[in-house]
């Protein structure tokens, strides 16, 4: 087979591959569920011994959502809340909470037999502290008062209202609500209507997000003037996820469009050729299709952050094409141009790919995905350029002379002048690097996971306001209590709760645990004995009360009955347990003790509780931050090792000239880190350094391979310009992770573009033309 025929086969094969890739991606995207937006999906799963608890807490919380609506006119507010709830209930992927009446009935019926062995802490304290006369007088006063508070059971069944007090301790927020059609509460002079529910799937599923956001986005306009001065508050992971997904989509669009526009303008300005434009479009298409196809083959779903970051691939992929097109313009033959750039192209792409592949070692699923996406994209771009060398033909078009003249008259002399001051320059460079190193040491590190939050201030304010109104539970900090059996777990849980709350007033208690609803059997027996002796004993409060009420009290002679040794958390109806998170998460060998929002026990308490058997304190924020810290250290070590190996490779391949690459890389890395890590160096800054490394090597290798001349400088400038544009746009991102990456690579590329020719000049020790008036 002749070479031209072979070339045609190869080109055809490549085009067929692209077609198959395009069809595969199209089919997957049309089928849906291809993209995800969970920021935690970028972070590795933890195995802290309590991971399943964490998953339980997280999953339970993350599906819930709350909308609170208030209107200056409560009737308007009520009508709007009803309308909004109806609209949300019509969504297939959303379940609205609305069965509180039947739920209360179910709870009341289930717990009724146990009402004399389930005491609120305050009730227990009163029974222990007060005499029968005071206990009876309290009930009698209540009977004559116009208000007597919440009762779970009628007076005849529970004259001392043990059930009402117990219920209020388990569900303190429930009794604050008014029994309106839509539950409502009054706060700061306004009435807030509560519309709450769960999404059926993950809140990070775009379908779930769409189900909710469609209604909420359209509701104000559909309600017309009724909305008026109405206020809406939102709380729930799904709102943050929706906002993050919108942000990511918007940034994909911005970075992608900006990069494409920049590339287009550069091509038009420099090449002024439709075929050059087509070659670049072909390279970009090959790169993106390859990246997406491989990513979708390897991963079930592609994260939106991967796509947003992946749009910078456009800037990287086009680099190789620029080198090819410029060489083609000079030599007028694609095969010759291909031969000239091939080694540089392979070394350059290889080093970038190696830098990205290092991220596969990272335990971060998001970074692994990013690495696969970018490596596949670079392979696609590199292959596309090699394919172009086989088939590219261009009609005679505008010369590159103006740009090459600009290099020889302006750029080269400037580098020569600087290169002439070799000693001063080397000393200055060493001093600057030392200063930057000192500055970076002074900056220190930042590993707080909360800094990765991309939610807007208004959404965070809304979330806080809802937590204030509803008194939410903190899903980030809790204790895991383990035991050999259910009773041991419950008894240990009671010790933890006591350690947290023993010196607190009943209204200021912090702990939320299953034992509030279902105490250990020992505690139930203790409470039952207390009730039997203090209330229903022969000289108990009931006898005194009956004297005061002049009644015979025959009704209560059989109370409290025998203690029932059968009430355990597993027996609580699932619908009831689902409304009390600690009960929902309790198993035979484990329970959790949660804290109310914003509250944190003193450090000495935390330490004392750590000594209790079977008790583990979990602080998710701290755990995740520690995870980030350990990975930052690991990746830094990895980077250092990679740099060591890379230095040896440079010396092996290029000898003394390898120092051009090394110094360029080091200078670019230090400069980029110093200019972008003002808040402290994060894991993502360090990971971005890998990209700086790869891109700087790109530039340096092409200079070494092709020499410091107008063509190489122009290709390098065009390549840098597109990447600088892409990463510069990424640096403006509101997503912290993308911002870190973008800013590091932006400054790194800028530094590499300026420094690398200078390093080449220094290494070359080139002579200075006499016309410049400087000694060499």
């Amino acid at each position: 087979m002749s070479a031209p025929v072979m070339h045609r086969y190869l080109v055809g094969l490549w085009l067929l591959g692209l077609l198959i890739g395009g069809l595969y991606c199209g089919e997957r995207i049309l089928r849906g569920e291809v993209f995800q937006s969970n920021i935690l999906g970028l972070i590795p799963e933890r195995d802290e011994g309590g991971q399943s608890v964490y998953s339980g807490v997280t999953k339970n919380f993350e599906k819930r959502f709350v909308v609170m609506l208030s209107h200056p006119d409560p009737h308007q507010g009520s009508a709007l809340a009803v309308a909004l709830k109806e609209k949300l209930a019509q969504q297939d992927l959303v379940d609205m909470n609305g069965a509180s009446e039947s739920l209360l009935g179910e709870l009341r019926d289930f717990f009724k037999p146990y009402r004399h062995q389930l005491l609120a802490v305050e009730t227990r304290q009163r029974l222990l502290a007060q005499n029968p006369q005071d206990l009876a007088a309290s009930v009698v006063t209540g009977l004559y008062s116009p208000v007597s508070g919440f009762r779970l059971y009628p007076f005849a069944d529970d004259p001392f209202n043990l059930g009402g007090a117990w219920f209020q301790e388990v569900f303190p927020e429930a009794v604050r609500f008014r029994g309106t059609e839509i539950p409502s509460l009054r706060a700061e002079g306004r009435i807030w209507y509560l519309i709450d529910g769960q999404v059926r799937g993950s809140p990070f599923d775009l379908a779930s997000q769409q189900a909710l956001s469609t209604v909420l986005d359209d509701f104000p306009s559909q309600s017309g003037t009724q909305m008026g001065d109405a206020d809406l508050l939102f709380s729930g992971v799904i709102f943050h996820a929706t906002e993050a997904a919108r942000l990511a989509r918007s940034e994909i669009s911005t970075v992608g469009s900006g990069s494409l526009l920049g590339i287009l303008l550069l091509v038009i300005a420099v090449f002024r050729s439709r075929r050059a434009l087509a070659a670049i479009a072909f390279t970009l298409l090959s790169s993106v299709l390859m990246a997406l196809t491989i990513s979708l083959l390897v991963f079930d779903r592609v994260h939106l952050v991967t796509l947003a970051f992946g749009t910078t691939l456009l800037g990287l992929a086009v680099d190789y094409c620029f080198h090819f097109l410029i060489k083609y313009r000079v030599h007028g033959d694609a095969l010759v141009a291909g031969r000239l750039i091939r080694k540089g192209l392979l070394i350059s792409a290889g080093s970038s790919i190696a830098a990205y592949l290092v991220q596969l070692v990272s335990p971060f699923p998001g970074l692994q995905q990013l690495a696969v996406f970018l490596v596949a994209g670079l392979v696609g771009a590199c292959s596309a350029v090699l394919v172009l060398t086989l088939c590219f033909r261009e009609l005679p078009s505008a010369s590159l002379s103006p740009w090459l003249i600009f290099f020889s008259t302006r750029v080269e002399p400037a580098y020569l002048r600087l290169g002439a001051r070799r000693l001063q320059l080397c000393c200055s460079l060493a001093a600057v690097l030392a200063l930057l190193a000192g500055y970076l040491y002074w900056l220190g590190s930042s590993d707080d996971i909360r800094h990765l939050n991309s939610s807007s201030q208004s959404l965070l304010d809304s979330e806080r306001k809802v937590q204030t109104l509803l008194g939410g539970i903190d899903p980030q900090r809790y204790w895991v209590v383990a035991g050999q059996d259910q009773q041991q777990v419950l008894e240990r849980t009671e010790k933890v709760v006591a350690a947290i709350d023993d010196d607190r007033a009943p209204t200021a208690r912090l702990a939320v645990a299953v034992t509030a609803m279902v105490p250990s059997l020992a505690a139930q027996r203790g409470d039952h004995a207390l009730v039997a002796s203090r209330l229903y004993g022969s000289d108990g409060a009931v006898t005194v009360m009956c004297v005061m009420l002049q009644s015979d009290c025959s009704q209560w002679q059989s109370l409290p009955g025998d203690v029932l040794d059968e009430l355990e958390p597993s027996g609580v109806p699932a619908t009831v347990a689902a409304r009390f998170l600690p009960a929902a998460l309790t198993t035979e060998n484990r329970s959790i003790v949660l804290l109310r929002q914003g509250a944190l026990p003193a450090q000495r308490k935390l330490e004392s509780m750590a000594e209790l058997p079977g008790v583990t304190y979990v602080d998710q924020v701290q755990v995740l931050s520690e995870t980030l810290k350990s990975f930052r250290i690991e990746v830094t070590m990895l980077l250092a090792a990679f740099l060591g190996v890379f230095s040896l490779a440079c010396i092996f391949f290029y000898g003394r000239r390898g120092s051009v690459v090394l110094v360029s890389v080091l200078a670019s890395m230090f400069v980029s880190l110093a200019l972008s890590a003002a808040g402290g160096v994060t894991l993502f800054h360090v990971l971005a350094l890998l990209l700086v490394l790869g891109l700087t090597v790109d530039a340096a290798v092409f200079y070494l391979e092709l020499g410091l001349n107008g063509e190489t400088w122009l290709a390098s400038t065009l390549a840098s310009a597109t990447s600088i544009l892409a990463f510069g746009l990424l640096a403006l991102s509101d997503v912290p992770l993308l911002h870190h990456f973008g800013s590091v690579v932006f400054f790194g590329l800028l530094a590499a573009w300026l420094i690398t020719p200078l390093m080449f000049q220094l290494a070359r020790g080139g002579t200075v033309p006499a016309s410049l008036g400087l000694k060499s």
């Binding site: 008062s145 116009p146 009628p154 005849a156 009794v175 604050r176 008014r178 029994g179 309106t180 009054r186």
Partner: protein, 194 residues
């Protein structure tokens, strides 16, 4: 939850619309003109498990915008204050207000009836005029409040408010047959200033 409800006196008026809705609307308008009230009450609770009914008595005052003070004097002294700002509180011996949990509804009903803001009651009850002689003739009339929601109906079957020129009695019926009757005697009343 709700245990007792009281209503203020209704000034004698000429009602222009005798339909149930018109009657209630007219009644509400007139109640809305009340600026302040003072009076005594006698309350009788019939609880099935107790041999004898529980009788108590005391005074009440209502000041528009500030709320109600309900003072039980016999046989056990207690003070309850209901205000738009603080809701329902029991005032203890040291004059400290103690919030009553789950009493928001009681506050809404108390203040709704005294201020004539029936629209707030409509959130919870179906308010009906018991057909009979009309207020036009200055004779007896009666309103019946029936809970709209099952949750409330489990605690309260209905409320009957009866009167002639003033509200004279109120009866609360509980689902288990227990009931509370309150009889009012207004000693002083005044319209609000405009």
């Amino acid at each position: 939850m709700l245990t007792i409800l009281v209503v203020g006196p209704v000034p004698a008026v000429v009602f222009g619309d005798e339909s149930p809705a018109g009657f209630i609307s007219g009644l509400a308008q007139r109640l809305a003109k009340t600026g302040q009230l003072e009076g005594t009450f006698e309350q009788t609770r019939y609880i099935s498990v107790l041999s004898i009914p529980l009788r108590s008595s005391g005074t009440f005052t209502y000041q528009r915008g500030e709320g109600i003070v309900w003072r039980t004097l016999e046989p056990v002294a207690s003070v309850v204050r209901i205000s738009p700002d603080q809701g329902v509180v029991v005032v203890d011996d040291r004059n400290n207000p103690q919030p009553v949990p789950a009493s928001e509804l009681v506050g809404v009903i108390f203040l709704g009836v005294f201020s004539g803001d029936f629209s707030r009651l409509n959130d919870y009850f179906r308010v009906e005029h018991e057909q009979g002689v009309t207020a036009r003739e200055g004779d007896h009339w009666e309103l019946r409040l029936t809970p709209l929601r099952k949750q409330l109906a489990e605690h309260l079957r209905s409320i009957a408010i009866a009167g002639t020129q003033l509200v004279e009695s109120i009866t609360l019926l509980e689902p288990n047959g227990d009931r509370t009757e309150i009889v009012f005697e207004t000693t002083e009343s005044g319209e609000k200033f405009h």
